[in-house]
Symmetry: C2
Subunit: 417 residues, 2 copies
């Protein structure tokens, strides 16, 4: 099953919104063995949308469209699809009733502008929208099944999962493509690539490649097979080999984050953690609590941004800050050690640094961060210089990952003993 | 200047990575009056890339390509471009020297695989990469100037800003398109649309439309003009009118966040804030410290995730939690009030709720969050039920925005007095 994903919206072609729908839809298609030939995004203009739908429906079996059917004026995919099909829009009375009910349930009157949402190209069918007003559209165009969904991610996902996916699953019975990513932290893309060079040869099945995203190097494996079982067997064999070669660099698979890896170990060992953050400003605590059930292992966090709060809340001696500066190894150690003691946690991690863009000096440039990791056996301190050409956001992100990885390695080390 | 943006990578068509490059490049093009006709993404396969480049270079003046020229095996855009141009790849000796130096500076030997990065289609020119190894490629194909850049966002941005943008600016001398988004919080997309319906009529210049992203409703204005001044005048007039109609819903423009709005007011009034978070787990503190210079107004934050930590760190009476539950109005009030007192800040905001997916009950469902806002005049408490169909991430995001907006409105109210 070949698919083309079409996203529509001026906010996309003007770059004001990052399109996350295409990635999500692509994942869903890959999971059922579909192959995305292209993701294409065009503005809210009738002709380009019509042309794109026309071309896509000749080149692919399935065309998934998102965007442009919201409650505001520009409702072009509907018109473009009708034009490409060579038919008129006709009113679908049950849909107008459903939209009216949606507003009534919220104690409001349906704005007149919403009427167009109940109009469909002749021969097309509505797809129910259970969490918004605009129904989707299902139509046949050239060789393709075309599905038009709302652009709002939550509405699109709901509609896709509920109605589009079952329709697609019926179609797919061809070769199965399974994909997996092995996530690593701690080495560069070239280094990771060198260790698995032979697996990355072109023409091989599975195909293996690397991706770099904010210091996370992912090793992607795509296995094709005549059956799901055969594809799975190929995929698993490569995954095992890659894990063996990359060792401790590997922290998880697919959408598992460093926080997941840490959470898993803490869950398993029933240990707890606390945080004391300065430059990361709560990001480490936020990451640790991204995981459902994190109350099992995360006790509390301190965001001690001002010097005074470091002293008042986690008892870092004022004279220590005065002597070494807030961005220093002794302060990082005191933050972690005291946070652990006050929180009565098994582990505590701290970060103090200069996230920039201001506040740097030749001795302590932007990007310098000290980390502390306190546990029963003592406290490790690490110094790290993230590039001073990085943005504040990048430095904070890198620092958070580095801190989580320190804890991950410590937990691995403890498990190995 | 018509542009097509091409992104390349299996990780994109498989949906494992969200493409942020296209949005960023589109913004840059819009800023110099360029018009993005299409963003297209294809996999790491020679033929589809060649076809796409060929078609794009016939349809647009500029083709911006990112991805696929990293240090690992699949280096297809290079080969595809040469094929589309009908030429061979030739080695560019200065580039191989530069790549070797990049490794030498890091105390490493250049892996053999990197050699291909110094090969270019005959007639094409390299573009220096100051923060990675792979140089970009500049070439002429059909009517278009084609620029191939790395996929790693930081390297791509650096290369675009340094070398590609100046080359593009020279070209553009046509009609200028200026864009602006007015950001609002607190009303739905339909409501916002109703208030500015007349400005959203099709065919009008500027064009006005709305976008919804995670409860932030943006009003996009695009003004075309023969000159930058004329486009600016049209843009500013619409922006002023929209601000007037939407009043307090408006918190900023373009990439300004609720945290920016809060930060600005706190800066201006030299007030300080502290946080006490449960379900948001540090996200509010993180958001407040996203802003450079936030140490001026952000003193410290408490992430009191466990009940015990609420009592130990911010003195919420254990019997209060026992009587009302940790997710309750009295606990939210105590968290904010005590955090303000302990932190000696002017304001403190608190959030305690059920982020899910577990932990809900009929009386206190997933999505229920209580907020406290403490200041010298007293403490406001608000209860909010975010949809129980939302993900943990969505609920935390919505709760954070709601908390920041509470503080924003309080600061506006104080300023008005």
């Amino acid at each position: 099953m070949d698919a083309i994903i079409v996203s529509i919206g001026n906010e996309l072609t003007l770059g004001q919104t990052v399109d996350t729908n295409s990635a999500w839809l692509s994942q869903q298609l890959a999971a059922i063995g579909g192959r995305v030939r292209m993701q294409a995004t065009v503005a809210d203009e009738l002709e380009p949308i019509r042309d794109l739908l026309d071309r896509a429906a000749r080149a692919a079996d399935v065309v998934l469209v998102s965007g442009g059917i919201g409650p505001t004026a520009a409702d072009l995919p509907r018109h473009a699809l009708a034009a490409a099909m060579g038919v008129d829009l006709v009113l679908h009375p049950p849909s107008i009733e459903r939209i009216r009910e949606f507003f009534t349930r919220r104690g409001r009157v349906m704005p007149e502008a919403n009427t167009v949402q109940a109009m469909f190209p002749a021969g097309a069918a509505p797809i129910e929208n259970t969490c918004g007003t605009a129904p989707g559209i299902r139509a046949k165009l050239h060789r393709a099944d075309v599905f038009v969904m709302p652009g709002v991610p939550r509405e699109m996902k709901e509609m896709f999962t509920r109605d589009v996916l079952p329709a697609l699953s019926e179609r797919s019975g061809d070769a199965v493509l399974l994909a997996k990513t092995i996530n690593t932290y701690g080495a560069g893309e070239s280094d990771v690539g060198e260790r698995i060079r032979d697996l990355m040869q072109r023409g091989r099945n599975p195909t293996v490649g690397t991706t770099a995203q904010q210091t996370i190097i992912g090793v992607r494996i795509h296995a094709f097979g005549p059956t799901r079982d055969e594809a799975r067997r190929l995929l698993d064999a490569d995954a095992a080999e890659i894990r063996r070669r990359l060792g401790d660099l590997v922290f998880g698979e697919d959408d598992e984050t460093l926080a997941h890896a840490v959470a898993k170990r803490l869950f398993e060992t029933k240990r707890t953690v606390a945080t004391a953050e300065s430059c990361t400003g709560g990001l480490i605590a936020k990451s640790l609590t991204d995981i459902p059930g994190s109350s099992e292992y995360f006790l509390n966090g301190f965001v001690t941004y001002s010097n005074e709060s470091k002293t008042r809340l986690i008892e870092v001696p004022a004279e220590l800050i005065l002597r070494h500066g807030a961005v220093s190894a002794p302060v990082a150690a005191a933050m972690a050690g005291n946070a652990r003691r006050i929180s009565k946690s098994d582990y505590a991690i701290s970060a103090t640094g200069i996230a920039g863009p201001g506040g740097g000096s030749p001795a302590k440039p932007v990007g310098l961060v000290f980390f502390g990791l306190s546990c029963a056996e003592g406290c490790d301190v690490q110094e790290r210089r993230f590039g001073s050409d990085m943005t504040r956001e990048e430095i904070r992100d890198r620092a958070c990952k580095f801190a989580l990885n320190l804890l991950r390695l410590k937990l691995l080390e403890t498990a190995a003993r």
